[in-house]
Amino acid sequence: MPEQEHHWVMVIDLDRCNGCQACVVACHAENNVPTVGAEGVVHGRAMHWLHVERFWEGEYPDVKARFVPLMCQQCGHAPCEPVCPVFATYHNEVENINAQIYNRCIGTRYCANNCPYIARVFNWFDPEFPEPLNEQLNPDVTVRRRGIMEKCTFCIQRIRRAEENAAAEERPLNDGDVQPACAQSCPTEAITFGDLGDPESRVARLVRSGRSFRLLEELGTEPAVVYLKEGDVYVG
């Protein structure tokens, strides 16, 4: 088994998230995720790798909106991995990331059914990128065709690029070198990305802060996405 170099972790501070959805747009742009139009969204065909779940708390007029940005949790013990008959979804031991190999996928959608976070999206049709979106496709990321499962990759192309840059400059990878599109675009800096293996990294300090929890932790999926509880009124 190859040696694990990094333990990539994303920390999302729910106290900072204001539900602006900039991360969703950035994710679409970075990863060549097609849009499906309002009708498609209503029909449950939205392709967002990352979506902001909104929950209402309290009774009118004392209502508060809560936002939970949710993407593939990159589980350490992922339910989607063993059920795939063709190894299209498998565990990348080096990056500790739950990888999806588009070319292998035959579209059984079994992985999506077994994902407790409903984080996976399916290409119901061939993707369409209407003008001028076709001009800004990311050359680092494959465009997927119909019948294939896909999901958040932790922007693995950016991780690779940062590693290559560091290697070219003959220096170790520094904390903050890797920025997924969602983290880069977040105006309130609610999303932090980094290596949990480095005890001094920002994510390691945030995980230790005492506010951290993981979604559906009781299922034992060991997600690599850590949420920070809201400091004010969170009862949990």
């Binding site: 029909h43 449950g44 065909r45 939205a46 779940e53 909104r54 929950f55 939970v68 949710l70 339910p79 063993p82 059920v83 795939c84 008959p85 063709v86 190894f87 292998r104 996928c105 035959i106 579209g107 059984t108 959608r109 079994y110 999506a112 059914n113 077994n114 407790p116 976070y117 409903i118 999206v121 399916f122 290409n123 119901w124 049709f125 061939d126 119909r146 019948g147 294939i148 499962m149 979604l215 559906l216 299922l219």
Partner: protein, 473 residues
Amino acid sequence: MSVEAAPLAWPQEEAPQEKLMLDPRPPEEMNEMVLNAMKKTGWRYWTVVGGLALLVLIGLVGAWGYQILEGMGVAGIRRPVYWGVYITNFVFWIGISHSGTFVSAILRVFRAEFRRPFTRAAELMTSFALVVAGMYPLIHLGRTWRFYWMIPYPNQRQLWPNFHSPLEWDMLAIFTYLVGSTIYLYLPLIPDLAMARDRSTGWRRRLYRLLALGWRGTEAEWHHLKTAINIFAFAIIPVMFSVHTIVAWDFGMTMTPGWHSSIFGPYFVVGAIFSGVSAVVMVLVIVRKAMKLDYFLRPEHFDALGKIVLVFSFAWTYFFFADYLTEWYGGEAVSRELLTLQAHGPVAPLWYLMLITNIVIPWLTLWNRRVRTSPRLMFFITFSINVGMYIERYIIVAGNLTRNRLPFDWGVYNPSLVEILISIGSLSTFILLYALATRLLPLIPVWEVQEGQFAHSLRRIGRSLVPSITELD
């Protein structure tokens, strides 16, 4: 005071001559009956075949082709309901395929004599239902044209399929069952094919000569055939159990709410036999009427099958109750949500209909011998049971996926026109294959009936006639 003693009558439910085994006719007359039923094709038959072929074209070439070209989006499935009618149909048809093995192999192993005239009709159902069921894993694939990547063969990608995946187990189990049950269908067919060969002319003679493998009916041939049938009858039973258990594990192995259950294996097997035996009754009623096989298929057979259906209705209810009660008592939030959904949600009418067709109707009617011996009533009862069993699979597959642990992603699922057309097309495929087979293969295992009649006799003991059976094996 003296009481006139009433003559002591043997508690006969029916005159012994009403039983096929005790009502023998000359073998040649019986052969003629089966061959004539096979060779007769009227305009009505060809209308039905033509209509079915049209439906198959619309469903499997038209609708499925459209889906392959356009993408899975033309089906109604949507996040989070990634599996819908296709997988429901798959489970349903696998269930139907259990009838042949159950009715034929298990009854053969236990030497239930009433099985003799209808084993073949049931075995044919198994093979054709498996063909239809086997299409669904392909139909539901996002990239159907890459289905062969699930087959373990050395390839240029240097990649085996994932043997940890229940879908892989599924594929291997279904393939084994299809091969095994087809051989099991073929073996007892050989003497009848030889019989047909010796009594037909033209293309039929050439066909049966090929299929009968040179059967002459020597002592050694019979010995080998009986041994082979015996081996297959025993061997196919565990394969049958494994197939539907593994289909159930497609669901049970996941951590999806409503699916993750250790009882699903036996629960699905019982449900499969319940709907499968019901389907055998439906087919027998139709075949008996359409092909005028009243001599072979008698009220006694519907009576016996009716008892099996009733017993499996009890068994199914037991498993359903055990599964439901465990979920409800456990009281996990999402389980509670699912159970509420079944009782009050959009699937509630279906759920209550299922309880009526699977429990109320069989329990209220099938205890009655007069109901069981009426082919018409049996047809309606078994038809409604199959409707109910389809609903059961639909609620388990599609209904359970509409709710999950994170409430933001709850959804609604409604089948689309494409899904409905493909479902109708596959049902038509099954009926079409069966309709064609009834005109190509002897539907009644004549030699088995004759063998049974040879072994049965009526013995007079005192004033009453007692049926007795000679052990042949």
